[in-house]
Amino acid sequence: MPGPDKETDLTERIEAFLSDLKRGGSGTGPLRGSAETARETTALLRRITAQARWSSAGDLMEIIRKEGRRMTAAQPSETTVGNMIRRVLKIIREEYARSRGSSEETDQQESLHKLLTSGGLSEENFRQHFAALKANVIEAINELLTELEGTTDNIAMQALEHIHSNEVIMTIGRSRTVESFLKDAARKRKFHVIVAECAPFCQGHKMATSLSEAGIETTVIADAAIFAVMSRVNKVIIGTQTVLANGGLRAVNGTHTLALAAKHHSTPLIVCAPMFKLSPQVRRLTNEPDFYNFCEILSKVNVHCPVFDYVPPELITLFISNIGGHAPSYIYRLMSELYHPEDHEL
């Protein structure tokens, strides 16, 4: 019987994905880039839409929310999972609204009148059944997948607008987005890149070897020398793990120092981040530390090894995403286009 088989198959896949997420965070499994995670999450959500049993949009949203909560709980630091879930929820809402026939604009506008009369709760309960909803939603998710596949290339295409010749560019750690950004610019321009190695994982080394193989003049420096060489740097281009709702960043360890040094020398700080990294979270006061034993630890010593840094939006000059460049003060607006306010808390 196709029904139960499909269901078990679906649950298996979900379980496999969850365990992958858990392993990826602990460092034992293969380290995945966020683009991959986003794509896999979206593919999985498409499968859920196709194979799970639901009759109305509300059901589907419930199912997705439930699975989404499990996924984010498996790996809290991997925010792209949550972001994709919220995107899909927004897609479902939109498709539902379109099927109902009401224009999108009136739904999205939060006028003062609407706030007062609705009493804070939406009147929609998404209970109506539409036959074409499934197909529409799956089509929309496919569009999303295409968008995801093209993000790195879209960002890289903008490289020549931001890099002139004979520049000295600084970056930290390893970001696939920044790597392709710089490689694309290197095809037409000659410039010099300084990579801060980002101890203790020293991801910067891999970035440097990969850039130098593309023929870019690269120099590797220790983290301690960031301020010392900053006076000769023209631009700082970094990637990030998450872009927060206020325009700040959750980026790899050492980025805050880099941002402060750039601010001191008035060097522009450019962040290359695709849209799927935009998260409606705000900064959490507790950092998730990742303990990495690289030295003999005496019994009386505490060792801290945080993985991420928070960078406030005042230190950032520009965001480059697959839909163009934005100032940090514009991020909140983009977020309202991507996610529905009710989905901020899954």
Binding site: T209, A224, K300
Partner: protein, 542 residues
């Protein structure tokens, strides 16, 4: 360079040949003072007349990679470097080269100095933009004018920041030649690996190729204590500005103990000249620090102040006492004074952040702990030196509770910190603090979080140089130190084979004075900008 392989082999053969020739010539004869003087005067004449010719000739020879070039064989026979062609002309060199202390040289030295200065002004005017700032030499600058006069600054740019200038390298090679006493060569250490273009004016050596491997055996020019010291410096066994100065002074004590004045020589002149090749050698092993420079200045001054009628034993014991007193006063007592003032700044419940391993800061913290102050320490460390682990070990042994982080986690941990204590390698005359690379970064982040930054520094580390960034005068360490293995893979293992990849391992950086709130010295607590005042006061004392 490829020549460095060939040269040692050639030298061994040449030494023996040259020695034979020389021994035959001056068997059992010692040149008298007058003869030496005459030869030096001759040399001076030759130099003056051939000066302009030499400049033009040397321009063409800039292409040569050999540090020792044979650019001007004809014009300057007295200072001919050892090359295969030059063996016969080498012979008259030693006669004029042996430093001849006499009563008259005081005058001719001044004349020569004036000449040299005039020459350098001309050179400087002809070159564009190579000399951006004045630097001070380690050699003793005689403080003639009283400090109330503003002295005209005619200082030479130190050699170690002119690596990209082949003329300077040539001059250094000649200087090393001149300083040898029995024709054993003090080799010029060759650079290693690809240098980042911003730093092509600095040396970059490999730790795996210490200078001592290039020395011939036995080396009668360099005292064995100095050879050992040089090796310890280049391998990083003795590190830290206080440790290096103390080791240097102890080695000099040994040298003085083993020294005997040759006949017809004065101790005050000859000993200073004996020390010059040692200092050049140590400079080649690892560039001298500001504290070492000041210590050397002090010793040279003490030696030249010894009255000529003093007996040798008495003079030597006097010098040894001077050195002991210097170490005591400037380092040990200063540390005690600084600790006393700093303890007032440490209150109960403090969380103190320290960076790397500064002997002075460790001393302060241990003293404060002895006086029963309750605080805890956060030790910040950085690759590739990882000196913080040593500081951590010392503090934990005393029982102080510590936390350990890498420098990239500084902005994570700084909200907990109440004070930052930093050590210094030198304090520059414009108020900048020269210290281990990463110090300026910590000061920057501390300023952003409004945490007070205190720098602890003894006054003997104050230096008259001025500097605004970390590029013009710095030290490049072995670039291979940055290579590391993570998860079984060494990414940068073959960095030399990739033409566009460079590794940069800086040792020092300068912290602007607006990041530093207070400097604690043995003369009291001063702001960063009062450094030139202290220097002026010290000059008056001397």
């Amino acid at each position: 360079s490829r020549f460095s392989d060939i040269q040692p082999a050639l030298f061994c053969n040449l030494f023996i040949a040259v020695l034979h020739i020389f021994a035959r010539q001056t068997e059992g004869k010692e040149l008298t003072k007058e003869e030496k003087q005459r030869l030096r005067k001759e040399k001076k004449q030759q130099k003056k007349s051939k000066e302009k010719k030499d400049e033009k000739a040397s321009q063409e020879s800039e292409k040569e990679k050999k540090p020792v070039s044979s650019a001007s064989p004809a014009s300057q026979p007295p200072t001919q470097p050892i090359t295969p062609k030059a063996v016969p002309t080498l012979v008259p060199v030693p006669a004029s080269e042996t430093p001849a202390p006499a009563d008259k040289p005081a005058k001719s030295k001044a004349e020569m100095k004036a000449e040299r200065r005039a020459r350098q002004e001309a050179e400087r005017a002809s070159k564009q933009g190579k000399k951006g700032e004045v630097g001070q030499q380690a050699a003793p600058g005689k403080p003639k004018a009283p400090p109330s006069e503003l002295q005209p600054v005619v200082k030479r740019l130190p050699e170690h920041v002119q690596v990209d200038n082949p003329e300077v390298l040539k001059k250094l090679a000649k200087k090393l030649e001149r300083q040898q006493v029995s024709y054993r060569y003090i080799p010029l250490r060759s650079d290693y690996g690809y240098k980042v273009s911003l730093f092509s004016h600095l040396h970059q050596y490999s730790r795996k190729a210490p200078l001592t491997q290039q020395l011939s055996i036995p080396s009668t020019v360099i005292h064995p204590a100095i050879v050992r010291l040089g090796l310890q410096y280049s391998q990083g066994i003795v590190a830290g500005s206080n440790a290096r100065s103390v080791a240097l002074l102890h080695a000099f004590k040994q040298v003085i103990r083993d020294y005997t004045t040759p006949p017809n020589e004065e101790l005050s002149r000859d000993l200073v000249n004996k020390l010059k090749p040692y200092i050049s050698f140590l400079n080649q092993c690892r560039p001298l620090s500001a504290s070492m420079g000041n210590a050397i200045k002090y010793i040279k001054k003490e030696i030249s102040n010894i009255p000529s009628q003093c007996k040798e034993e008495e003079a030597k014991s006097k010098l040894l006492n001077c050195i002991d007193r210097y170490i005591d006063e400037k380092i040990n007592l200063a540390a005690k004074a600084i600790a006393k003032s700093s303890i007032e700044k440490i209150s109960d419940g403090d969380v103190i952040l320290v960076y790397g391993c500064s002997s002075l800061v460790n001393h302060i913290l241990c003293e404060a702990f002895e006086k029963n102050r309750k605080f805890r320490v956060i030790v910040v460390d950085s690759r590739p030196r990882l000196e913080g682990r040593e500081a951590l070990r010392r503090l934990v042994q005393r029982g102080i509770s510590c936390t350990y982080v890498l420098i990239s986690a500084v902005s994570y941990i700084l909200p907990e910190v109440s004070k930052v204590f930093l050590g210094a390698h030198a304090l520059l005359a414009n108020g900048y603090v020269m210290s281990r690379v990463g110090t300026s970064q910590i000061a920057l982040v501390a300023k952003a979080f409004n945490v007070p930054v205190l720098v602890c520094c003894e006054t003997y580390k104050f230096c008259e140089r001025v500097q605004t960034d970390s590029f013009v005068s710095n030290e490049l360490d072995d670039p291979d130190d940055l290579i590391v293995t993570r998860k079984g893979k060494t990414q940068l293992e073959h960095w030399q084979e990739v033409p566009s990849l460079g590794l940069l391992n800086l040792v020092y950086d300068v912290t602007p004075p607006d990041f530093v709130d207070l400097v604690i010295t043995d003369l009291g607590m001063i702001p960063c900008t009062s450094v030139p005042v202290v220097l002026r006061v010290k000059n008056v004392d001397q």
